[in-house]
Structure formats: structure tokens, C-alpha cells
């Protein structure tokens, strides 16, 4: 029997976990609720609760067991479900809220810290169920603890549903108002997507798409700290070599996700779906995507050059990660949330990073305008216009973009909001004061781009 380990490699792994915040960000179990549909709300509530409680009953226990077996933290155990609009057609908004509450109780029972899928897919138009669900979102998010919501309002194939975009402007503002005492927390659990992936394990945008199997395990890896360290240790190398170093690191990080995904799949007897090879920051010091960009040689994240640096980073992460896993999916790329990343927060406070720069950055990385607090006196039309801009970037570039804005009720640009935990806290960012009211009120759909005609 040969001992195939070099001490250097063993120490490197331990170093990554102990000092550079390497962890598995989430094991997310996707559960289909299509068989829970029905006419009677009481029956549906019971079915939904029972199914989640049954399928995910051992999820948290297995997650904790794997964390000790492999000595790597598994930060979150979560559940995503079939978009509730699909199983709740026929229900009114009050009944949709009851489904959300049933899901909330199930999440509490199984011990997960978020449950995603209070969602609707309306890129081409609304069904009755979609409309009821969207109307129910503010109350559902304000009155539940674990439930997360997402709405897909556009895609490269369908174009952008501007009626839905305007509705979401109102929904985001209403969600924040209902939780004004908690700095608008409900809005932090709500994502508006263009080109939403069906297998994303990350919250708040996770849902179990209609093309997914009965039940599946998806894993989201993390590790901005590990990449930041590697970049910091290599101040002299040119950008081609730097990309190589990031690729190697991303490979190692993603292998951990692959290992945990396979092991969780075996222990839970549920098929393994994908590894989402995202760099997901946390508010912890040293676990920041902004810090990677700064270590690459920018004085502050947001300086000119940031978009180029982020493009290199995002591409290298994907190239390294794709080699490490048999199935890559979800969002897969570097996340640039503001409140969840201490380096981003500092860049905003120093005046280096603006909303406009963040929008430009979303052209070259995963997701979009994420966890950004905006002044509470914003109009629904302005929120809608921000969503429309971001969705247009996604639609034209055939990529996922998302918007998670938190109107800070009663606060102005420069003041702070605090959400606590993984959601962090952030300064309120200023927005463009000019109106897009007439544009967003035109309604209708922005046609799908010519590039969608790929057949």
C-alpha cells in the first residue's frame, strides 16, 4: 500500500480550511412539489409540508456528519422547491401566503436555514397562478422566516416581460416597507432574474426547475479567501500566469464540492445534480471577492480596471472549476454582492464603487446587482428601470443576471443598513435621480434579440 500524499499537499489543504475560509457554502436539496398540486388549500399545505419534511429529514444531519468526516465546514444546508406558482394555480394571493407558511414550517422542522422556490417564471407572460404568487410575495416574505422568493422576468429566448418588471418594482418596495423595522429584510430574500438557472443551489434565487428530477443534491462551493491569498502571494507574475494560478486554485476548491456532493448523494440516496463553482463571499474578513481584485493590483475595487480584472478572475474560476467536476451548473462565477462582502462595503464607503460600476461589472461575472441598499424614497418605476437594465445585459449576453435591491425605508444615501449573519450590512448607495417612468409604463415585452434565433 503506497502512501500517496506529500506533506506539503496535506498542509496546504489544512491551511486553506483553517486560515483562508475554504468551505462548502451550501448543500441544497432540490425537491419537486409537482405532485402536491391540488384545489383544496388545506390538502396542498399538508402535502407540501409532508413532502419537504420527508425528503429533507436527514439533510442537516448528513451535512454535519460529512463536515466532520472530511474536516471541512459545510456552512449551509438548504432546500429548493418547484416554483410555487406552478403548483398553486387556482389559488388566490392569501392561499399562496398559506403555502409559503407551510413551507416555512417544513424548513423549520428539517432545520435548514433557507428554503427557496416561492417563485414564478413569467418571462413571456403571466398565468393566473403567477399573478397570485407575485401579489403574495411581500406578505409571504414579511411573515415567514426561511422562505426565499424569485421571479424570472426575462430570457434570451423570450425577451423581457416589462409588465412583470414594473410589478416587481412595486413588490420589492412593498416587501421592504413591510419589514422597515428590520432594514427591509424581506427584500433581501427576493431576487428578480433574467435567464434564471433551474439548478442554482444559492439563495435567495434557488428553485427546483420544472426540468429537474424528483429530488436532487446540488452543491455550492466557496473560497474567495483562498484565491485572494494565492493572488496576494504572487505580486510579480504577469496576468497570463496569474490566470493559471487562479485556475489551479479553483480546481482544488471545486474538487471539494464534487467530493461533498458525491458523498451527500450517496448518504441521502438522492442523485447528485451539479456543483456550482461560484466564488461566494461572506462578510468575514478575508473572504472577499473585492479583496481578490485589489490583490490583483487595484487600489480599491471599483477603480478603472475593475471590470477587466473581474473578467479575468471569473473566466479563470470557470476554466479551473469545469475540469474538477463532472457536472457544473447553477450560477457558476464570481458573485459581487455588496453587503455580503467586506471589501465591497469598504469600496463603497471610500467612494470607489458606484451602482453604475457594479452594473458594468455584472457584464463579465455571474449574477448581477446583488444585496445593494438604495434610498427608501425610490419609486417603483426607478426600481423597475434598474431591473430592466440588468435584465437587458443578461438577455443580450445569454447569461444569468439578477437584481436583489433593498430599499432602505426612511434612509438616505450614505446611511447604513444591517441585516446580520451571512447577509451582512452595507451603506445605502445613491441612484440616478432622473426618471424612467414613461419608459417603464409603456409595458409589453422587449422582443428577444436576434441572437436568440440560433436554430
Amino acid at each position: 500500500m503506497t502512501i500517496a500524499f506529500a506533506p506539503k499537499e496535506i498542509l496546504q489543504t489544512i491551511e486553506m480550511i483553517r486560515n483562508e475560509n475554504l468551505d462548502i457554502r451550501t448543500i441544497t436539496m432540490g425537491i419537486s412539489l409537482l405532485d402536491c398540486a391540488g384545489d383544496d388549500i388545506k390538502v396542498v399545505e399538508q402535502k407540501v409540508y409532508d413532502k419537504v419534511a420527508r425528503k429533507a429529514g436527514h439533510l442537516v444531519e448528513v451535512g454535519e456528519q460529512l463536515a466532520t468526516r472530511y474536516g471541512i465546514p459545510i456552512v449551509n444546508k438548504r432546500v429548493s422547491v418547484t416554483p410555487v406558482a406552478l403548483i398553486g394555480s387556482g389559488f388566490n394571493p392569501e392561499e399562496m401566503v398559506r403555502v409559503a407558511k407551510a413551507l416555512d414550517r417544513a424548513a423549520d422542522t428539517v432545520g435548514v436555514n433557507f428554503l427557496g422556490g416561492f417563485s414564478a417564471l413569467v418571462q413571456k407572460g403571466f398565468t393566473q397562478g403567477d399573478e397570485a404568487l407575485i401579489e403574495a410575495i411581500p406578505q409571504a416574505l414579511a411573515e415567514t422566516k426561511y422562505v426565499c422568493s424569485s421571479v424570472n422576468i426575462g430570457s434570451t429566448k423570450a425577451g423581457i416581460n416589462m409588465d412583470a418588471v414594473l410589478k416587481m418594482g412595486h413588490v420589492i418596495l412593498d416587501s421592504a416597507r413591510r419589514t422597515a423595522d428590520r432594514d427591509g429584510l424581506a427584500a433581501a430574500k427576493l431576487v428578480v432574474f433574467c435567464n434564471a438557472p433551474e439548478d442554482n443551489p444559492f439563495m435567495a434565487g434557488a428553485f427546483h426547475g420544472p426540468g429537474e428530477p424528483e429530488c436532487v443534491i446540488n452543491v455550492g462551493v466557496s473560497g474567495p479567501g483562498v484565491v485572494a491569498y494565492v493572488v496576494k502571494e504572487s505580486p510579480e507574475v504577469d496576468l497570463g500566469e496569474l490566470a493559471n494560478l487562479i485556475k489551479r486554485t479553483a480546481f482544488k476548491i471545486t474538487r471539494m464540492g464534487e467530493l461533498i456532493g458525491r458523498a451527500a448523494s450517496k448518504e441521502l440516496n438522492v442523485p447528485f445534480g451539479i456543483v456550482d463553482l461560484s466564488l461566494a463571499p461572506t462578510p468575514a474578513i478575508g473572504d472577499s471577492v473585492a479583496e481578490i481584485l485589489e490583490n490583483m493590483g487595484l487600489e480599491r475595487c471599483g477603480a478603472h480596471g475593475t471590470t477587466a480584472a473581474l473578467a479575468l478572475l471569473n473566466d479563470a474560476v470557470k476554466k479551473g472549476g469545469a475540469m474538477a467536476s463532472s457536472h457544473v451548473g447553477g450560477l457558476s462565477g464570481a458573485f459581487i454582492p455588496v453587503s455580503e462582502d467586506s471589501g465591497m462595503v469598504r469600496a463603497v464607503e471610500d467612494g470607489a464603487l458606484t451602482l453604475d460600476k457594479l452594473e458594468a461589472m455584472t457584464c463579465v461575472c455571474s449574477v448581477g446587482l446583488d444585496m445593494i441598499a438604495i434610498p427608501g424614497d425610490v419609486t417603483p418605476e426607478t426600481i423597475a428601470a434598474i431591473i430592466a437594465d440588468e435584465a437587458a445585459i443578461g438577455m443580450i449576453n445569454k447569461k444569468t443576471t439578477a437584481v436583489r435591491l433593498i430599499p432602505a425605508i426612511g434612509k438616505k444615501a450614505g446611511e447604513r443598513v444591517e441585516f446580520g449573519g451571512l447577509l451582512g450590512g452595507a451603506p445605502v448607495m445613491s441612484i440616478n435621480p432622473f426618471s424612467a417612468k414613461q419608459f417603464v409604463h409603456r409595458g409589453g415585452r422587449i422582443p428577444a434579440p436576434i441572437t436568440s434565433l440560433s436554430n
Binding site: M1, F5, I10, T13, T68, R69, S265
Partner: protein, 99 residues
């Protein structure tokens, strides 16, 4: 390896001990391992400026405790001695460093 048929690659674990050098570290770890019928396959140690680093490859085939449990036990006892002790299934290293 088929994606959905995960098999554990082996029954070996890696013990790492990091901390200030002191008398009896190896004796303590090996005694505890013997008590759980765990065989030591390989051992390496270095001391850099008084900082002790030891790595052991252990065979868990006949072990009376699982990796998770052993990690907890040695982790806690190590802490009391001012040492950072990790016990991890070997797959975590094979997966990260070998294709």
C-alpha cells in the same frame, strides 16, 4: 468513476497535529489510536522554529470509532494540550490533489 455511484476510495484517515513542540505528543496520539484498534501506516514530523507539525496516515479498517467521532475526540483532547489536531478521511486529500 460513475457520478452517482460514489464509493469511498479507502479506509484511511489523515491525522495532523500542529502546535508548540512538547514532550509526548506522538506517544499520546499513538496510544489513543491503539485504544481504538487503529493502525498507523505512515508518520512524518517536522519542527520549524519550535512549531511542531506531525502527519499520520492511519488505517481505519478495524477501528472501533468512525472518522467523525475520532476527529471530535482528538480535536478536544488536543485543544486541552494547546494543539490543533485534525482527523480527516483521506478522500479529502485525494480529491483535491489527484486527478
Amino acid at each position: 468513476m460513475d457520478n452517482n455511484k460514489y464509493e469511498e476510495q479507502g479506509h484511511r484517515g489523515i491525522v495532523t497535529v500542529l502546535g508548540r513542540d512538547q514532550i509526548g505528543i506522538i506517544s499520546w496520539v499513538s496510544t489513543r489510536l491503539a485504544e481504538y484498534s487503529i493502525n498507523i501506516l505512515d508518520i512524518s514530523q517536522t519542527i520549524v522554529q519550535g512549531f511542531f507539525t506531525m502527519m499520520m496516515v492511519i488505517d481505519l479498517t478495524k477501528s472501533t470509532v468512525g472518522v467523525s467521532e475520532l476527529a471530535k475526540i482528538l480535536g478536544e483532547e488536543g485543544k486541552a494540550r494547546g494543539l490543533q489536531v485534525n482527523v480527516q478521511h483521506e478522500d479529502v486529500f485525494t480529491f483535491m490533489h489527484r486527478i
